[in-house]
């Protein structure tokens, strides 16, 4: 990615600012998980870090300045890392199976239901978080628990 379209006059290397982070944020680690893992754990993350996330988003609504919400942001990051570490300890096999499936299926959750269900069970058993999509209809089976489905791999499709 040395040259992005439209930025040929400015190579990627010149975008990098090598300045080390200021003392205020120096000791805050980044999550460093790939997108498939994040997609796989998103609902657990939303449940695990609900308070920190809401706090951070309220702070952002108050003031958009990046310097305004550094403390809240650090809490959000630490909470996310905490959950991912615990998931790696307790649900490593299921998580690996699911995110590898997501990698092969364009990150579409509906293509990976057989892998998702053991992961959801493991998360519920270990953490007590039940996957719930806000705004979904109250009646009927949730889309991630359906056994007969129209979308997804052909062996599970209607």
């Amino acid at each position: 990615m040395s040259n992005r379209p439209g930025y040929d006059h400015q190579p990627y290397e010149e975008w990098v600012d090598p300045t080390p982070p200021p003392a205020k944020v120096a000791d805050v680690p980044n999550v460093g998980a790939t997108s498939a893992i994040l997609a796989s754990t998103a609902f657990a993350l939303g449940a695990h870090c609900k308070e920190y996330n809401e706090d951070f988003m309220l702070c952002k609504a108050e003031d958009e300045n990046p310097a305004h919400c550094l403390k809240e942001g650090a809490r959000v990051t630490r909470c996310s890392i905490d959950l991912l570490t615990k998931l790696r300890e307790r649900c490593h096999k299921q998580l690996t199976a699911h995110w590898n499936c997501l990698e092969l299926n364009n990150h579409e959750l509906y293509s990976c239901r057989p892998e998702e269900q053991p992961l959801n069970e493991c998360i519920f058993k270990n953490f007590g978080y039940k996957k719930q999509v806000p705004g979904a209809p109250k009646t009927g089976t949730p889309v991630h628990e359906q056994t007969k489905r129209y979308f997804g791999n052909s062996r599970n499709t209607f």
Binding site: Q10, E14, W15, V16, D17, P18, T19, P20, P21, P22, K24, V25, V28, N30, V31, L38, A39, A42, F43, L45, G46, C49, Y52, N53, F56, M57, K60, D63, E64, N65, P66, A67, H68, C69, L70, E72, G73, A74, V76, T77, S80, E108, L109, Y110, V133, P134, G135, A136, P137, P142, V143, H144, Q146, R149, Y150, F151, F158
Partner: protein, 129 residues
């Protein structure tokens, strides 16, 4: 030689004869066609609408997957933006230290609201280690 005889029917009546109409089948009746049409269309529409409902829920799930991640991603991005802005401010202070009454990091906009930088910063060669 007898005279001419009139050609008349047989005495009594003609004998009955067996006959059959050979007409090809005209297919199912109009009612059957009508009902069949609506039956097939109903079947298709039932599954179509059901799959649409499922697709809607899949999209809802996909959106919420992203929404749950937003605070985490935004926090990381904010820390990097903060680091870059601090570096920019330090660089500006270093360059402009000889100019009296120079306000470092003063915004070009007449507002107290934070304005996200729209122009990416080009880092001059001498500031790269």
């Amino acid at each position: 030689m007898p005279g001419p005889t009139q050609d008349v029917g047989v005495a009594g009546k003609y004998p009955s004869f067996r006959y059959q109409r050979y007409i090809t089948s005209r297919g199912p009746s109009g009612t059957a066609l009508f009902l069949g049409l609506f039956g097939i269309m109903g079947f298709g529409m039932y599954h179509h609408m059901k799959s649409r409902k499922e697709w809607r829920e899949i999209q809802r799930e996909r959106i919420w997957t992203r929404l749950h991640l937003i605070p985490m991603l935004q926090a990381e991005q904010d820390r990097d933006t903060y680091r870059r802005e601090e570096a920019l401010r330090a660089r500006e202070a270093e360059i402009m230290k000889d100019v009296p009454d120079w306000e470092v990091g003063r915004t070009a906009y007449h507002t107290k609201r934070y304005v996200r930088p729209t122009v990416p910063l080009y880092l001059p060669e001498e500031h790269k280690k």
